[in-house]
Symmetry: C3
Subunit: 206 residues, 3 copies
Amino acid sequence: MKLILLIDILGTIAFAISGVLTALNKRLDPFGILIIAFVTAVGGGTLRDILIDANVAWMRNLTYVYVILGSTIFAVIFRKRLGYIRRSLFLFDTIGIALYTIVGVEKGIAAGFHPIICIALGTMTACFGGVLRDILCNEIPIIFRKEIYATACILGALAYFLLHFTPISEDFIVIISGSIVIIVRLFAVYFNLSLPCIYRKDKLES
Amino acid sequence: MKLILLIDILGTIAFAISGVLTALNKRLDPFGILIIAFVTAVGGGTLRDILIDANVAWMRNLTYVYVILGSTIFAVIFRKRLGYIRRSLFLFDTIGIALYTIVGVEKGIAAGFHPIICIALGTMTACFGGVLRDILCNEIPIIFRKEIYATACILGALAYFLLHFTPISEDFIVIISGSIVIIVRLFAVYFNLSLPCIYRKDKLES
Amino acid sequence: MKLILLIDILGTIAFAISGVLTALNKRLDPFGILIIAFVTAVGGGTLRDILIDANVAWMRNLTYVYVILGSTIFAVIFRKRLGYIRRSLFLFDTIGIALYTIVGVEKGIAAGFHPIICIALGTMTACFGGVLRDILCNEIPIIFRKEIYATACILGALAYFLLHFTPISEDFIVIISGSIVIIVRLFAVYFNLSLPCIYRKDKLES
């Protein structure tokens, strides 16, 4: 459990800092930066909790609030040097996405939803913080334009269900499906993979 | 009941394809296209269900999910030939809007809301999928700029309540008020009607 | 109680008119103007109620609906002359923000949330109508770019909690913390104060 708490916190830090970087890029003021950091970190889970009519996690557990506040202040102060921890941030982010996906899937199962809806809830938990961040910053969500990690989340969430048809134990299923999210994402970034482009190259300039 | 189910599915198809077309226009990737199709088709009803604190319909009834998935794949594959079924799509869309309006009004009544709120819920059900689609695609919602069908929904929803003061039976009230939505919309498109412009013509270039 | 009702109505009027002005600026049609007025006036409270899973206030109490409808019609008709009541509108707006902040904080306390969450709920009630207005109008929310009143709300909400450690009576606490919101905002506007700019001046052209 302590490992999961640690991963959760590292993921929240990475998400919050990604929000701060987008907000700085848009030259928002300190209040705007804080809101964007917050929405990026907890937006996906909040949307999930509203849809399944559950209590919103960060409103009852202040750990998230403190972590996001701290990360935001840290990121604003050291914004010129965040390049040095770029790799760590990317790793935290990837591990956080894997965890968020599994958490979303499990909350869906606990609420009695169909596997397809659970996969959607897992993907939403991991991806929609970034979607809300981009909408608040007046951009088309980057995840809709350029594959970042949605496919990794969907595949990991799918594996979670398929592995239940095998004799693998619950704990291992979580580890394996989480690892699938991480590996698919690392591969996609390393080999610069993305979903097949459905637009003709020659039209790309239009 | 089977007729209503059929209308519901045809409306969902038309809404999803409208989302796909907007997403293709913005050159979104397959994941983005799917999300926009989904949000366009079920966004209005989802917002309504969250506001009245009801269960979100598509999360418990997977018919919508399958129909939207199928429509999206169909529309992406045959995107160059959608022009051929343009008229059918417009018809499905119009009938779907009428049905969504009535469904929204009836859900409002069932939850014990005032007629004005029920009319707002009916209009929201029919119109806010498109609003969310446009926000996610970083556009001012088209329905706020150019009358598309909001007035048709409001008039149909209003008729639904007024007809209850007459001896007309419940079934007929649904048919008549739904027809009003359809007829007002067809008239508006055919004669290119819109809400009165409140801006002076001579300022239009500014 | 009658005073609070009056302040609430004046605040709603000021918020709705601010929505109308933004919508007119974007040349929206009458339906769009009405929706933006509505969202500006009740959006913050609606988001709060959804997050704390409470009944959405304007759906059960039609006073807001009538006030917003009336304000919108008034503001559209007299849009060229709204400059004459600019000062009154600013005053209503400021008093309304103070009231909305306190209402949000008190709803949070009633639902048993931690003071930090209550402060966030108060600020959200006062500020997020404007955020939703700007998103629907395809702008980065102005409150994220240029300090308007978020800090005033946060300070007033904070005072509300701190004053409970003093022997001051409940009624006075409400009046004092509301006054803090009003005074901080008036000072900020009068002396053109804003949150410290974290961007270097010389980079401002980039």
